[in-house]
Symmetry: C2
């Protein structure tokens, strides 16, 4: 499970993160909310843990999981170069890229559908 995107490719893992985004939760809570067998939840949590997406704290027999931001931030960063495709605001970077695109011939025809 190399990349952050590979970890997020699994729908149940995204569901776990979404649940944890609003508050910390124990494995039991997650299991109940997701209506998923407990071993399955534990295995997904392991992948999320090893990917750095979550951290856990021991509380008696419970393990309480919470979101860790770092890997999601990396995903956010990866998206940065694409934001110009949907942000109306034309900043310096976009102007630069549009110049490059324009200079490779056949004028600026952006975002039209096939």
């Amino acid at each position: 499970m190399e990349s952050a995107f590979a970890v997020l490719a699994e729908p149940h893992r995204r569901a776990i993160l979404s649940l944890l985004s609003s508050s910390e939760r124990s494995v039991g809570e997650l299991t109940h909310r997701l209506r998923l067998p407990q071993p399955s939840v534990s295995k997904h949590l392991k992948v999320l843990r090893e990917g750095g997406f979550v951290a856990s704290r021991v509380e008696a027999q419970r393990r309480v999981y919470r979101v860790n931001a770092k890997p999601l931030q990396e995903v956010d960063a990866w998206l940065a170069p694409f934001r110009r495709f949907w942000s109306r605001h034309v900043d310096a970077l976009e102007q630069h890229l549009e110049r490059m695109e324009g200079s490779s011939g056949k004028g600026k025809r952006r975002h039209e559908q096939p």
Copy 2:
């Protein structure tokens, strides 16, 4: 290949999108830049096309591909609830979530490592 995240899980597909983010490119250009066999590039492009990440235009024998923003925008939207974990700016949504978190007991201990 259900979700946008599953499409992005493949490193070569992310590389293709990154190349297309700066400018439209033909399959041949992508093949050359990525040092990947052409059938491989075509197959990845097919997945990207069916996922709505790219669109193509025919130009003689060439197919020129370009980025299509929609699915990336969905990924961006999915990230939204997590941004409060790394953005210093406390907006209305965050205040709301912090109130929810606080009301479930054990006071606001956010983002500490294990």
